[in-house]
């Protein structure tokens, strides 16, 4: 095993539906300035940089890293740009982790962003469909996700009520998050009565479309103390995928997430996730996704996610709070979300979370990914 890797500085923008005052590059700059200041570092102290975004079709700038490098003063550094759909930010963090763990960098800056106000979100995602076989009838990620949620209802009992509980919980939690831009308390009934967009997905099951960026500084154990006395150490991190249209692909459980969590739990010494985690941050592009994560991450057995959310265990005051930040329901700049979830979990471990500090949080679980089930990752952070 290589070096220990810790998150020693974090920064995110105040996310918004549309930022007309800054360009994509300016948005990235804000998050980087905040993360470097938080880590008590300047760009000179950074060895390598990873820039992560969603598909370029989201905002029509190809090779945006060329623009971003100017904006963050990373000229002359090792810069890698990475994209992996919804999980882009998390995949970026994984790439940064490898650089530091492998000893190729003492400190790596990972910055992730999307400026979704600029393009056509669902249509852009429809271009991920096979152009020959399906794109003519593509409905972005929303129609597709709704279809498989409908299938899970029959097999796993992921009811509209259970998803509405997730939406109501996360939306209520987001009110205290200074970086969120959707802050309105909604009830389970409000969600159930909201307009069907791609039924069973309804308006309040859907997070906002956001402009935002998020950055973290990763450091090895030798340099971490320059930035903080309480790094959030990454005890395990993995990101797995599956074939797109293979015969045995059920899409009921997320097999890649189950594989990733197994790997990560082994390296982090997690044998009882429900007991051992103090707090969990997940990327829920629609409320129904969170139910699947409970099962694939082993917080409950398959088929019991609806019971878990109904029990209140994942509420702020439950025994395993999920998304005290409000998750994607407060802000959803897709490419940045993987890093935002890491930030929210890291600050919990550091004891300085701005949304809802979970008392004595020592061990956190982070999940992120793209697509309905096919690209999924998770990480364990601890003090």
């Amino acid at each position: 095993m290589g070096h220990e890797v810790g998150i020693v500085g974090v920064g995110q923008t105040h996310h918004a539906r549309r930022r007309t005052d800054v360009s994509q590059a300016g948005l990235v700059r804000e998050a980087v300035d905040r993360a470097l200041a938080d880590a008590k570092l300047s760009m000179d102290d950074i060895d390598t940089v990873v820039i992560a975004t969603g598909p370029v079709l989201f905002a029509a700038v190809n090779q945006p890293e060329k623009w971003v490098v100017d904006a963050i003063g990373a000229q002359g550094k090792s810069v890698v740009r990475l994209t992996s759909g919804g999980g882009a930010g998390f995949a970026g963090a994984l790439a940064g982790y490898y650089q530091v763990a492998g000893g190729y960098s003492d400190r790596t800056l990972v910055v992730a962003y999307d400026k979704l106000s600029e393009g056509q979100l669902q249509y852009s995602i429809s271009t991920l469909y096979d152009p020959f076989w399906g794109r003519e009838f593509a409905v972005g990620i929303m129609g597709f996700s709704a279809a498989y949620w409908r299938a899970r209802m029959d097999v796993l009992g992921h009811t509209e009520e259970a998803a509405a509980m997730v939406a109501a919980k996360n939306r209520t939690n987001a009110i205290a998050n200074p970086y969120a831009h959707v802050k309105k308390e909604v009830s389970v009934e409000d969600v159930l009565n909201s307009r069907p967009l791609c039924w069973p997905i309804k308006l309040l099951d859907v997070p906002p479309i956001s402009d935002g960026a998020a950055a973290i500084v990763l450091s090895n154990e030798k340099k971490a103390h320059h930035s903080t006395s309480t790094p959030a150490w990454i005890r395990g991190i993995a990101y797995c995928c599956e074939a797109d249209n293979a015969p045995e692909r059920s899409l009921m459980l997320s097999e890649p997430l189950a594989i990733a969590s197994k790997k990560v739990y082994r390296s982090a010494g997690i044998t009882n996730p429900r007991r051992q985690f103090d707090v969990v941050e997940v990327q829920e592009p629609y409320s129904c996704f969170e139910l699947n994560y409970y099962e694939s991450l082993g917080l409950c057995p398959p088929g019991q996610a609806a019971d878990l959310v109904a029990s209140g265990a994942t509420q702020l005051d439950g025994d395993i709070p999920v998304n005290p930040s409000g998750g994607c329901m407060g802000a959803n700049p897709i490419g940045a979300v993987g890093v935002i979830r890491l930030i929210e979990a890291a600050t919990q471990i550091m004891g300085r979370n701005e949304s809802h500090q979970i008392k004595d949080a020592k061990t956190a679980l982070v999940q992120s990914g793209g697509g309905w089930a096919n690209l999924r990752g998770c990480a364990v952070l601890s003090a």
């Binding site: 963050i72 003063g73 299938a151 791609c198």
Partner: protein, 308 residues
């Protein structure tokens, strides 16, 4: 894994697809001010803390990432530093007086009359467009005096958003597997897949290698026009790129004889009835077009529920 066929490349028919959509791009403060000032016939640049001036104005220095101390008005005269001809237009790089970078624009002169180092001056168009094309181009002007960078008095509000659109055309190659499948759809109105490496179920779309066993797939097989819904949702929201009127059902159908899904649509009268009648497990039938088949999935117009 498998040797390529012993054949020379053939010029085959391709599958056309287009990705086309509108954008609202954000230039940011500096470029937004530059664009807003174009109809006022002022070229806006950025002056950075190290004293360098660049135009068009930029929010961040490309040498060290610093933000500009101020936005400035730069001269509309300069020196030609490079030029070429593209699509009948002469394009040049111009070092505007007092600037540290080159400004790219059209040069309104014949290529043969140009030389590097030549003095040039902007020729403004009569327009109120907030675009760099408010300058029609630069013209050779041997006597143009050397201008000076000035403070920008009363700058215009930066443009927040710029409308933009992108349209990308692709010609995809079918390859032998998709090629045969779409030939069969066009010529015979039937959907054919290939068997998995070890079973009788067909993979749709057909492919060379079985994703599960990683062995070569089996022989070709026609699937039925009937099938079972594996997953479905009711599209009730209009968004850019939709080709059908809402509400309708988006369905992933496994055709009888196949083991993988096909994406299609089912027309419905209303949402509430569809919730009850169309669900995973519902039996459906493909309705082929009455018109000429083109060799696309959309030669099947829609699926219909098979009534008991």
């Amino acid at each position: 894994m498998f040797a390529p066929p012993e054949a020379h490349p053939l010029d085959m028919e391709t599958f056309h697809s287009q990705i086309s959509m509108p954008y609202t791009l954000t230039p940011g403060r500096a470029a937004g001010t530059f664009l807003a000032e174009m109809p006022n016939r002022r070229i806006v640049g950025s002056r950075f803390p190290d004293g360098t001036v660049v135009a068009p104005a930029q929010d961040f220095s490309s040498t060290d990432g610093e933000e500009p101390e101020e936005l400035v008005q730069v001269p509309e005269t300069g020196e030609l530093t490079a030029f070429t001809r593209v699509d009948g237009n002469v394009i040049g790089l111009i070092r505007l007086d007092g600037c540290a970078n080159d400004f790219a624009h059209r040069i309104l002169a014949d290529l043969g009359d140009l030389s590097v180092g030549m003095r040039v001056a902007a020729k403004w168009d009569d327009t109120d467009e907030t675009s760099i094309m408010a300058i029609s181009g630069f013209v050779p002007d041997a006597d143009a005096p050397v201008g000076e960078v000035k403070g920008l008095v009363g700058p215009a509000e930066p443009l927040g958003v710029i409308d933009y659109s992108m349209s990308l055309d692709y010609q995809h190659s079918y390859g032998p597997y998709y090629g045969r499948m779409f030939d069969e759809i066009r010529e015979h109105g039937r959907v054919m897949g290939v068997r998995t490496s070890s079973g009788d179920d067909a993979l749709l779309p057909p492919r060379e290698v079985d994703d599960v066993t990683h062995k070569r797939t089996g022989t070709w097989k026609a699937c039925a026009d009937t099938g079972t819904i594996r997953a479905c949702s009711i599209i009730n929201m209009e968004f850019f790129g939709l080709t059908r009127e809402v509400p309708y059902v988006y369905a992933e159908v496994v055709l009888d004889g196949a083991s993988t899904r096909m994406i299609h649509v089912i027309e419905i009268d209303d949402l509430e009835t569809a919730k009850k009648n169309i669900k995973p497990g519902t039996r459906v039938r493909a309705i082929w077009t009455d018109g000429e088949r083109k060799g696309r999935v959309s030669d099947i117009e829609r699926f219909e529920v098979i009534e008991d």
